[in-house]
Amino acid sequence: MSKGRFGVHGGQYIPETLMNAVIELEEAYARWKDDPGFVSELEGLLKDYAGRPSLLYYAEKMTKDLGGAKVYLKREDLNHTGSHKLNNVLGQVLLAKRMGKTRVIAETGAGQHGVATATAAALMGMECEIYMGEEDTVRQALNVYRMELLGAKVHPVKTGTRTLKDAVNETLREWTARVSDTHYVLGSVMGPHPFPTIVRDFQSVIGREVRAQLLEKEGRLPDALLACVGGGSNAMGLFYDFIGDPQVRLIGCEAAGRGVETGETAATIAVGTPGIFHGMKSYFCQDEYGQIAPVYSISAGLDYPGIGPEHAWLHDTKRAEYVSITDDEAVDAFEYLSRTEGIIPAIESAHAVAYARKLASRMGKDQIVVVNLSGRGDKDVAAIARYRGVALYE
């Protein structure tokens, strides 16, 4: 069996043309990840450029309103560029520079990963091209302009369902065509080995900070960690440091879209079956013949028919739980957090907030829940207005 396995999941299922590229990436990562110069440069950027550590905020009003467990919010939305995506991008672009690459390419769904990649490329003087489903360029028009402002070229992807899955297809195709000077900055804990490991490692700063911050504030570990899951990078980043603490529940919140029973859903663990796609063995939304299903969620960032292989393994081993949150519940939570705490969450993160509302109220007052607020919701305001029937366009 090949490298990069999480149980039966993971692996390196990619065209031969890319094999040497992922082998070189794996070697470069092993060479640099513990190099003192690399580590200090990355830590410096995370602190002085991204604004880390991000705050761990006690949501007192929300806690009182729900009447159960104490709710803490991990404020990844306060990072530069407005989401957790920059943690991974800074690491990967630094690595790409060490590898002598001069150009980066990336897929994006909601645009958060694309904006983060364009930002890091601008900072480090790299050429940058972003692939984004045409439908998402409409849903997230402001982010397209933002990426262009940062000097990136944005390619609307017009194939397939014209969403995140197709953006990944097109970025893989582009990487196959031009691999010698180009690094593919994969945005989630997915794809062929070593990406799921690299992205998880760069995102694991989230969980390490939560542990230290909560020990300082409460003198104990949390009872449950909640994060939204598309590919699963912010969830993996939060969970990773706690996998060995069995008393801490790890809960991933998938996008049910209009409901897991409607067919218009992106909840992979709920409706998916084992498959091999986008370089990895994992669970996928697909039909009986292995054709990848068109998925749906109000959230462009969770609108993906698969899930990272380490999540698939956490599911198989029952170490993590995966729940589904509908569009309606996510939009309610989006408005709830805005009014209750004065924090507008990304619609992706609102899926985790929605489950926190259900869960915390059922838990004891002596218990603690940490919700990963993976991104801020400015980008979603117009879409939510339209969802509520307000004809607002950017």
């Binding site: 299922y13 031969e16 043309t17 040497n20 899955k165 195709r173 065509a177 498959g275 009986e288 292995g290």
Partner: protein, 259 residues
């Protein structure tokens, strides 16, 4: 090596056309395959359409979309192969992605290949390191698992060639499938490197469309694979594509063996 695959490389340089099964319909594919065989095709690649073919350019992506929309499924394609085998003994290779095979069940899929008369299987998103997914079942049911080498393979060529079955698929260019005006890779060098490790025939694919390109490839390799150029004819002429494809196959087979 399966008997029919060996046979494919025994009539001069092999011409290997590709069509997406079910584009524009399974009925047309059923007529197209025997017609290509009669026109001189030495081995025919039948594509099982996939929703997300990451190694394909726009021409074959659209063919896959058309075929799926017209109702092609893995089961119906096995039925198609049964029908084709009543008419021709031409060597047949399936070309598809790993997910349709894995989801169907690797053993069930390869058993059906063996029973219906599919001689080889090409899976572009399954590299050497992952071939354990299918290799045991290919051996059990007598189906050659075709390996690919690419312009970036370098030191990997010998490792891959040493275990190659059927024929070695030499990817001529970087990027995805599709017609190219020029092929700049040192194909001769790639093939020579492979031949040092194996005597398996080498066929070149990706980007070949004209008789001139085919003749050039024939200098270096044992055969030429053409996909997008044929799929374009199917797209242009639809149900009436058979005579156009036949003419093209005849022309290409002749060009390959001029030298």
């Amino acid at each position: 090596m399966s008997k029919r695959i060996r046979e494919a490389f025994s009539h001069g340089k092999a011409f290997i056309p590709f069509v997406t099964a079910g584009d524009p319909s399974l009925e047309v594919t059923a007529r197209l395959v025997p017609a290509m065989a009669a026109a001189g095709a030495d081995l025919i690649e039948l594509g099982i359409p996939f929703s997300d073919p990451v190694a394909e350019g726009p021409v074959i992506q659209q063919a896959d979309e058309r075929a799926l929309a017209a109702g092609a499924t893995t089961d119906r394609i096995f039925e198609l192969v049964r029908q084709i085998r009543r008419e021709t003994d031409v060597p047949l290779a399936f070309m598809t992605y790993l997910n349709p095979v894995f989801t169907y069940g690797a053993e069930r899929f390869l058993k059906a290949c063996g029973e219906t008369g599919v001689d080889a299987l090409i899976v572009p998103d399954m590299p050497f390191e992952e071939k354990g997914e299918l290799a045991p079942f290919c051996r059990r049911y007598g189906v050659d698992l075709v390996s690919l080498i690419a312009p970036t393979s370098r030191a990997r060529i010998r490792m891959i060639a040493a275990e190659a079955e059927g024929f070695l698929y030499c990817v001529s260019s970087m990027g995805v499938t599709g017609v190219r005006s020029r092929i700049t890779t040192d194909i001769g060098g790639m093939v020579a490197e492979a031949k040092r490790a194996s005597d398996v025939p080498c066929a070149v694919g990706f980007g070949i469309s004209t008789p001139e390109q085919a003749a050039e490839m024939a200098k270096h390799a044992d055969g030429a694979i053409v996909g997008s150029a044929i799929v374009k004819l199917a797209a242009k002429y639809g149900a009436d594509c058979v005579p156009h494809v036949e003419r093209y196959v005849r022309e290409m087979k002749a060009a390959l063996n001029l030298g």
